[in-house]
Assembly symmetry: C2
DNA sequence: CGTCGCTTTGATCTAAATCAAGTTGAGTGG
DNA sequence: CCACTCAACTTGATTTAGATCAAAGCGACG
């Protein structure tokens, strides 16, 4: 399983090296470095330590790295969306987090990735070598602190998500999800979900049918509206919050 | 809710300051500092930074700190056991972790505790001021790295636990729990669980009845034996591992 | 404009929750 | 030292939230 995953990844990387060009930081893209440092962890780190960042693109559903694969890089989403997940041997999947533009993912303390990562849609990432980050952290306390910050942020999310997965009802989970996505990707009061119903279900510990039914019910209650299955506008955040347990 | 929690804690602390003595590190107690530094995070940190550590004791079911309470201290279990948990407004509880002798808990990146903590049984902890740790991390990269390590360790556990809560069956959850406790607290092939069935249920996202039924079934299959409800001996770890999904 | 993957909706099933007694055993007081 | 008590635990009966199975819609794309 482990070795197969590695081999598959190497082939993918090879293929990509041919079909995509690797370019320097600050290409004309989303999340420009003009953004305040506090909001852009990579800029903050590279600014401090002068690290080299590259860009890379993945097609929809393409694996970025596998579970237990050596963690060679740390990534930041420039555009697109990524899912991080674990699998059981029979294929059951738990998505631990969705990564949206600006988010850093793939940062590990140990030598291997604890979750696999895949592009949900066509996605471009910025990446830096883990080793160079570690090195910078060894001399620069600000970098070391930033690494801790990022891991602590992931831990906070995981702690909230354990409560959701262990104790919330289906409707409460969906309400929590909608409020999270609203906060993270709403533009002009509307959100364009990059992920399908199955991804949402695997994030919330539900089936895709249960997610669909909950969304339909919220629509019939006038709490949200659709323009196409993945374009959602929240019409009553307050009522949604009251359903979030 | 927030203010009530704080006030309650202050009263508890006050009460304890009177009834328990606060002493220096290296009192004649469990987890001696003779242990290798790598296995004793506190010794490692205090050794580097010369921090002051104190001891403190809590009675069974006593609150150590509340959710959202300012995180003034970081703790290490000397003896006893602690549960960290979140509550929903209607009382549903998700235990995120059990802390056993040697474990560090209560370390936060932000200013407040994300989970509450209670002693499961009479418990003694070692504690250091968070502020002094932060200060040490600001000048000593080794301390900064250690803080990151500890948070990363908690994150790894939370990631594994999300998979359990989102996707494992009741029997798989109980099998995972038994193997975790076997690894962490088995002595002479036997484990003495400090927590009740309800705690186990709230850790695994199950009811206490479901936990009890799973344990009974494992006993009837000869995979484990009881001497009293909380003394368990695993008779067939291999079969248990095969049930862990 | 046809196709195929995604989504919705309906019918049925089931794992685990809930409700409900008993049973056990650790700790207490006589 | 024994018996009493009460919380913890086990076990059984029933219910139910969500899963599973099944079949239409729909909508984006070639």
């Amino acid at each position: 399983m482990y070795h197969i995953a590695i081999r598959r990844k190497e082939m993918v990387m090879l293929n990509q090296s041919i079909t995509h060009s690797v370019v320097n930081t600050n290409a004309p893209h989303a999340v420009p470095s003009a953004v305040a440092p506090a909001a852009n962890p990579f800029a903050e780190i590279t600014g401090h330590a002068g690290l080299i960042a590259s860009e890379f693109s993945y097609k929809k559903d393409e694996e970025i790295y596998g579970e237990d694969e050596p963690a060679e890089y740390v990534y930041q989403v420039i555009s697109g969306a990524v899912r991080s997940y674990k699998l059981l041997s029979d294929g059951r999947r738990q998505i631990g987090a969705f990564h949206l533009p600006g988010d850093v993912f793939g940062l590990e303390f140990g030598s291997a990735h604890r979750l696999a990562a895949e592009a949900i849609i066509d996605t471009t990432v910025r990446l830096v070598k883990r080793r160079s980050l570690e090195q910078a952290a060894g001399t620069d306390v600000a970098v070391a602190r930033k690494l801790w910050t990022m891991t602590a942020h992931d831990l906070r999310h995981a702690e909230d998500h354990m409560l959701l997965l262990g104790r919330k009802t289906a409707m409460e989970r969906v309400a929590t999800f909608l409020l999270e996505m609203d906060r993270r990707l709403a533009v002009a009061g509307m959100m364009a979900l990059p992920m399908c119903r199955r991804d949402i279900g695997d994030y919330l510990g539900l089936t895709l049918e249960t997610v669909s039914r909950a969304l339909s019910q919220l629509q019939s209650q006038g709490i949200l509206g659709f323009s196409g299955a993945r374009q959602i506008v929240l019409r009553n955040r307050q009522r949604l919050r009251s359903m979030d347990a």
